[in-house]
């Protein structure tokens, strides 16, 4: 039965294990509901999503994802149905909680898609196991445990090694493998802590078995289909989100394939799911790789590992890998349609009741954050660590793999890359890490036998032989002079021009030239769900070196939107948001929008978003090939837009300019002015706009000299990098030596910037310019003082502390900078504002100018109601702001307060320090919006899991420099009824204030309980720890405090400013309002 209105719960902020895929799913769901005539009500705390745009759902709430908030929304909207399967684990868990609290019943809300009982049966290990047993599906020996003692007994019975999987967590949070009793204790404790019901599964370790997944769909009439199966290159033991995945499976025979397919359908039928579901299997490997007990002539043994009764990261990947829109179809099923009643959007002729046939190979590689967290533990296990992923499509595994590696954008790392230490030490780490693929290549390159490597790693020899074939091509390119047949063969394996150049001792441009000379250019083939059996209408293409091109150039005006690639720290979903809006704006302006991107999780790579989608790496070669293909026989190539895809896209400005390809928006020159230190300094000087004193240097000597001149502390960072990579605040010459060396490595020959560090209010401005008029939609003020990366700061709109004079200076500087630079479209400027005398001159300094869309674009677009990307695109196309109905200057502030708060994934990343600094660490963001500051702040903290619980115990460990600022905060805490714990120095300070405090020692080797114990055993429920300068003892102690808090998943404030804000929000007992985004913005 079709519901009249449906509530959709989003997945909240981007964290490891829950990324952009749920924006894609939710956006599709809202579209599908609109087609079905169902009113959609969407709740999500993440403002950087397309799904929370006005107009995507019928009612949009950007509110914290908590049961009380959801109840208020339900009471207000009275939806008939709740669709809990689109918001990842977050959405599913909330649905369970709403049901448990009796709220669904109270308001007569029907759970759609997946029955509550099914969620329980899929998530609760005991019920899950019972269901499998009932179906006669093989069940792995496992024990459900609620205590450490039970875990130990289970491990005894099964025998080590074992895997520990916490119930109801996402991305395997808290789980892991245990090979020793010591490890067992650690992992069991962390797993029990991670599970909201304190339940873990201790199961037999199938290390080295194959891991295979099926995406299945079922409708209300009981019709079942599989969308896609996928095989992991990494065998069991590595979280599927951290595995290299290939679709379809490659090493499964038809018998194996159908056996697991049938099992998947039995499971989804038994679960009674109406929608999508993901089933993970472990399948016996070759006996000569990993021996197992049993008859090799019988059907291969397998185990069902996990079922996700909802759309997932894998279903997003499967959708992009096949062209089958899983979330869209799942939503229509939830609205009462059967598969045969849903048209196939790809072919336009057939129905959704069919199974995609692939005539290509898809490879997904995760994108890990270890380029930013060099000290993080790179080992991969059952707990996911990747922030994002890339996908590549080609006609062979080798080619898809090569393209996927290019898409990762780890510098210019190709499969040829080897870590220098490996070569030096002769050691190649073949255990599961983010670098295993390259280590496998390295050992095979050196002649290791495939079977030896297979036995050592559990990777099926099929994959290793395919790597061998890549290596064979490397050797040919090294040995033979480049000739057409060889180059063509290399391109058919998707060797990039750069790889060919490196091996054949040429320049990449020379390779490109020869390709053109010899007529070796890519063609583009369509992803059509049906292996060309039906005429398809989608324009979703991938490149390959074959004979027939299906992406013929289309006459008429068009522009190419360069996307932002994989989600990584510093370049998140915000840039996909901007890319999607850019495509829509082009279409609204009557142009064909051509999208290029490599990220399967996103809305931008939905074939519906643009007029033509190229799923390709975002490098010079791929983009130039696409532009040439789009140009066809026209005189002029289509223009590219590089300002929405983050640093990925902006980095392509220069190569495109060199190739004489047109860019609309800010020119490559404007980008250079902003990024080249000397040009930028001169530019500001000429206009009398101050910036913190400093200079660009290329040697340590020069760095020392400059630092001495301007005085410590100084900020050290490489130029041309995003997200503050390798950026540090340096207090003295000793630290300078270390960090200059580090920054130099990241800068790769480009200069390093040394600036005076000004500790003031940090302010951020986004502006839109058409060449004449500059519109400033809003100013955002950061809660943390300058020095914390803007992406990790809480940002408030409108700025609470700026006076009219300061606002006026900001407007003036912004206008002059933007116009002076000739920036067309969007520009983001960061300022630091120092206190000024009443009536005196405002003290405003420019920190940074980025002539491109920033990560605040979605936030600011939403809270101001200004369609920033659309205005920017129109401006790039030559349409003036005033012709679009906008005047210049500062856009009138709305009657609301919105706070953007960062969200971290620190519990997943072992050995990474959590303290806030100039280098960005957050993976996502939430927004708190209300009529007043207190309400907005309370919501922002609630949504980012940083809200203080009343009457809790709180641990303080403050740096000396913060002790001056702290007394007010501490009095407030004590006054609000908090019990205080503090480390030695801080404790003395609190005692001096005459307040009660329990002292705990920072010395971890001495008496217990120490500072880490009180966190681990739950004595304290919150931590305020502000780090001392770098490389001191305090920092190291602080590190353990912060890690313990991250692992215990309790709020940990590392900036005194954030802590103060949190305490204020609490002490004022902020009441918050619940309203739709439209009500806030228009109210």
């Amino acid at each position: 039965m079709k519901p009249a209105s449906v509530l959709i719960i989003g997945s909240g902020p981007i964290v490891i294990g829950q990324a952009a895929e749920f924006d894609y799913a939710g956006t599709q769901a809202c579209k599908a509901m609109r087609e079905e005539g169902v009113r959609s009500i969407l709740v999500n705390s993440n403002p950087a999503t397309i799904m929370t745009d006005l107009g995507v759902a019928d009612a949009v709430y950007i509110e914290p994802l908590t049961v009380p908030v959801l109840e208020r929304i339900i009471a207000r909207e009275r939806p008939e149905g709740l669709l809990p399967t689109l918001g990842g684990q977050t959405g599913l868990n909330l649905a369970v909680e709403l049901a448990a609290a009796g709220i669904l019943e109270k308001y007569n809300v029907r759970l759609l898609g997946t029955p509550l009982e099914t969620i329980r049966r899929a998530e609760d290990r005991e019920l899950f196991r019972d269901m499998l047993a009932k179906l006669g599906e093989p069940v792995l020996e496992s024990h459900i445990c609620h205590t450490l003692a039970e875990c130990e007994a289970a491990a005894e019975s099964i025998g080590l090694p074992v895997v520990i999987r916490p119930a109801y967590t996402l991305g395997g949070t808290g789980g892991g493998m245990a090979f020793t009793t010591e490890q067992l204790r650690t992992v069991a404790e962390s797993g029990l802590a991670a599970s909201p019901i304190t339940q873990v599964l201790v199961e037999k370790n199938l290390l080295g078995w194959k891991e295979v997944e099926y995406e299945v769909m079922r409708d209300g009439a009981g019709n079942c289909i599989t969308i896609c199966n996928m095989e992991n290159l990494d065998p069991m033991g590595v979280h599927t989100g951290d595995s290299i995945v290939v679709a379809p499976s490659q090493t499964l025979s038809d018998k194996d394939y159908q056996m697991l397919r049938s099992a998947s359908l039995r499971i989804i039928s038994e679960l009674g799911i109406e929608g999508g579901c993901n089933v993970q299997f472990s399948l016996a490997p070759r006996k000569d790789v990993r021996d197992w007990e049993g008859d090799a002539d019988r059907p291969l043994p397998y185990y069902v590992i996990e079922v996700n009764p909802r759309v997932s990261r894998s279903s997003a990947l499967a959708s992009k890998a096949t062209g089958y829109p899983i979330a869209r179809v799942a939503t229509k099923i939830a609205c009462g349609k059967t598969l045969d009643q849903i048209p196939n959007a790809v072919t336009g002729k057939t129905t959704a009741a069919f199974e995609p046939a692939l005539d290509y190979c898809v490879v997904k590689i995760p994108r890990w954050p270890f380029d930013k967290f060099a000290l993080g533990d790179r080992t991969l296990g059952t707990q996911m660590k990747a922030t994002g992923e890339v996908m590549a499509i080609e006609r062979s595994f080798e080619a898809a793999l090569n393209k996927a590696v290019r898409s990762l954008e780890i510098g210019r790392r190709s499969l040829l890359w080897e870590r220098p230490e490996w070569r030096a030490g002769g050691e190649f780490p073949l255990h599961a890490t983010d670098e295993r693929l390259w280590a496998l290549m390295a050992v095979l390159r050196r002649g290791a036998a495939v079977m030896d490597v297979a036995r050592q790693t559990g990777v099926d020899p099929w994959f290793l032989e395919r790597l061998q074939s890549i290596i064979a091509m490397e050797k040919r390119l090294l040995a033979e002079p480049l000739h057409p047949e060889l180059l063509r063969a290399a391109k058919r394996l998707a060797f990039s021009d750069e790889m060919v150049a490196q091996l054949a001792d040429l320049l990449p441009d020379q390779v490109r030239e020869r390709r053109h000379q010899w007529g070796i250019t890519p063609v583009y083939k369509m992803v059509d769900t049906c292996a060309a059996e039906f005429d398809a209408e989608t324009a979703y293409f991938y490149s390959t070196y074959e004979s027939e091109n299906e992406a013929e150039a289309v006459p008429g005006p068009a522009a190419v939107v360069i996307g932002s690639g994989p989600i990584r720290i510093g370049q998140g979903i915000e840039f996909d948001y901007a890319s999607v809006h850019a495509a829509w704006a082009l279409q609204a302006a009557g142009l064909r929008a051509v999208m290029v991107n490599s990220n399967p999780e996103t809305v931008s790579t939905d074939f519906d978003t643009s007029d033509r989608l190229y799923f390709e790496p975002l490098d010079e070669e791929a983009v130039r090939d696409i532009i040439e293909n789009e140009q066809g026989n026209e005189a002029e190539p289509p223009a590219s837009i590089v300002q929405f895809g983050g640093q990925t896209a902006i980095s392509l400005a220069e190569p495109l300019r060199r190739a004489s390809l047109p860019i609309i928006g800010s020119s490559a020159e404007a980008i250079d002015t902003a990024e080249d230190r000397h040009l930028f300094e001169r530019f500001l000087q000429d206009r009398g706009i101050p910036q913190p004193p400093g200079a660009a240097v290329t040697t340590l000597e020069a760095a020392m000299k400059i630092a001495q001149q301007i005085g410590y502390p100084v900020l050290v960072r490489p130029s041309y990098v995003l997200g503050g990579r390798a950026m540090e605040i340096v207090q003295n010459a000793n630290e300078l030596v270390t960090f200059v060396a580090q920054a130099a490595e990241v800068a790769q020959g480009k200069p390093i910037l040394i600036d005076k560090y000004l500790e003031g209010r940090e302010v951020e401005v986004d502006a839109i310019c058409d060449g004449e008029t500059v519109l400033i939609p809003g100013i955002m003020e950061h809660i943390e003082r300058a020095g914390v990366h803007s992406g990790d700061s809480m940002a408030v709109y409108p700025p609470p502390h700026l006076d009219p004079a300061e606002r006026e200076v900001l407007r003036d500087y912004t206008e002059r900078i933007v116009l002076g630079m000739g920036a067309i479209g969007l520009t983001n400027i960061q300022y630091v504002v120092l206190p000024h005398e009443p009536g005196g001159e405002p003290q405003v300094y420019v920190l940074e100018v980025n002539p491109r869309a920033s990560r605040t674009v979605p936030f600011l677009s939403k809270v101001t109601g200004v369609p920033m990307v659309q205005l920017a695109v129109n401006a790039m196309l030559g349409k003036k702001l005033k012709d679009q109905g906008y005047e210049g200057g500062l856009w009138p502030e709305r009657n609301l307060v919105a706070i953007k708060a960062p969200v971290f994934s620190m519990s997943k990343l072992v050995d990474v320090d959590t303290h806030l600094g100039p280098e960005m660490k957050s993976t996502g963001e939430v927004m708190g919006i209300d009529r007043n500051f207190e309400g907005a702040l309370a919501k922002a903290l609630l949504a980012s899991d940083m809200a203080l619980k009343p009457n809790a115990a709180i641990l303080l460990s403050l740096s000396d420099k913060d002790k001056a600022d702290a007394p007010a905060l501490i009095r407030q805490l004590a006054g609000a009824g908090y019990r205080l714990y503090a480390t030695e120095g801080t404790s003395r300070m609190i005692q001096a204030l005459g307040l009660p405090v329990t002292s705990v020692t920072k010395v971890l080797t001495g008496d217990h309980p120490n500072v880490v114990d009180v966190i681990r055993d739950g004595t304290v429920q919150c931590v305020i720890n502000t780090p001392e300068g770098r490389l001191t003892g305090t920092l190291r102690d602080g590190f353990y405090i912060r890690r313990a808090a991250a692992e215990k998943r309790i709020p940990c404030f590392t900036s005194i400013d954030t802590a103060r804000a949190a305490v204020e929000a609490l002490s004022r007992q902020a009441e918050y309002d619940i309203a739709t985004l439209a009500e806030y913005v228009n109210g």
Partner: protein, 363 residues
């Protein structure tokens, strides 16, 4: 590497590499979109007289294994792939695909833009073609254009058994007479697994020959070619209807349908793959089926005693027929899978139930 050409009757030429036996081979060029099951397809008698193009680009990944063969020889005249895997990996693999093809004398070509070939066939319909390692394109084309039409040949005659035999596992309690138009082994296996003893008869067997076995039921098997050429078989099938429970699969379905007054026609490019949705008319239930047929039943003229039980959701063609008061069920798709989804093995259960229900009742 030896070069090879795929030349189609419309003059298009696709260069590639020989990955089987040398020489040339002619046939109707058809494509199959299954992603697995190449060896099952290669041994499916319904491909007699055809050159098989596999749309999945990497063929041979999991090697070859004699136990999965569906008949005793390679059936298509030739094989066209994007890539023949040089290395196979599977617990049960007995070797790589290229040596297998060579050993079996199969002419095959790899390195072809199979998607381009598929698109051509989709747009222009199936056509004759050749794989050649020993001619120029022009020479090959001249030869292809002089070939007799695929539809003019009775391919069943070339694949059916030449003698009556009992399926090896036959010790079952129900007796099944199977009329072999090009049967796949898994049909016999599926019946044997349901406690049936199967006796296989050549395609030219008469109704009396079959009834002489005193069967509990008759299976009309799949097979290659234009069903309109099978007049005798249709007539004999007509004599069986009403006298014994009948299960018709693929060609067997087309034969039974003709015996019930329906016609058949050639599909533009056939149905070949493992992903075709079929809806049961009575229940609305949709299952995914394995298909391999170039002709379909035209229900015009179908006896009023029969009705369409299943339709294809992609193009609404007839996928199954049943009779209102006689024990007959036919399906256009392959309930025996191999390759393909196992969603429809229940057809065999239904057939066996039918045998039980009518035991002794008819004849």
């Amino acid at each position: 590497m030896p070069e090879a050409l795929l030349v189609l009757a419309d003059g298009s030429v696709f260069p590639g590499t020989a990955c089987g036996a040398p020489g040339h081979t002619d046939g109707e060029v058809v494509f199959n979109t299954s992603m697995t099951g190449y060896q099952e397809m290669l041994t499916d008698p319904s491909y007699a007289g055809q050159i098989l193009v596999l749309t999945y680009p990497m063929i041979g990944n999991y090697g070859v294994d004699a136990k999965v063969e569906e008949s005793d020889r390679i059936q298509p005249r030739g094989l066209v792939v994007r890539e023949a895997a040089r290395f196979a990996s599977h617990l049960r693999s007995e070797g790589e695909i290229e040596p297998y093809l060579r050993a079996k004398g199969v002419i095959a070509i790899s390195g072809v833009d199979t998607r381009a070939v598929t698109r051509r066939i989709r747009r222009h319909g199936v056509m004759l073609g050749t794989i050649t390692t020993d001619e120029t394109a022009d020479g090959a084309l001249r030869r292809v254009r002089a070939l007799p039409g695929y539809d003019d040949t009775n391919w069943v005659a070339s694949v059916t058994t030449d003698h009556v035999y009992d399926w090896a596992d036959a010790a079952g309690k129900r007796r099944i007479a199977l009329l072999d138009g090009g049967v796949k082994r898994n049909i016999m296996r599926s019946l044997a697994a349901r406690d049936c003893a199967v006796r296989v008869f050549p395609a030219n067997a008469t109704a009396d020959d079959l009834l002489g076995f005193k069967p509990d039921g008759v299976v009309l098997s799949p097979g290659p070619g234009d069903p309109r050429l099978l007049e005798t078989m249709v007539a004999e099938a007509g004599r069986l209807i009403g006298r014994v429970p009948i299960l018709g699969i693929c060609l067997g379905h087309q034969v039974a349908a003709q015996a019930l007054g329906a016609g058949t026609f050639k599909l533009p490019f056939g149905h070949r793959g493992g992903n075709h949705p079929v809806q049961e008319v009575l229940t609305g239930k949709v299952t995914i089926t394995a298909q391999n047929h170039g002709y379909a039943v035209d229900p015009g003229g179908l006896s009023s005693a029969a009705y369409i039980s299943h339709v294809n959701l992609n193009d609404q063609t007839v996928e199954g027929i049943a009779m209102r008061s006689e024990p007959l069920l036919t399906i256009q798709y392959h309930s025996e899978a191999c390759p393909g989804p196992l969603d429809n093995t229940a057809i065999f259960d239904r057939f066996v139930e039918m045998l039980a229900a009518v035991q002794g009742g008819v004849k």
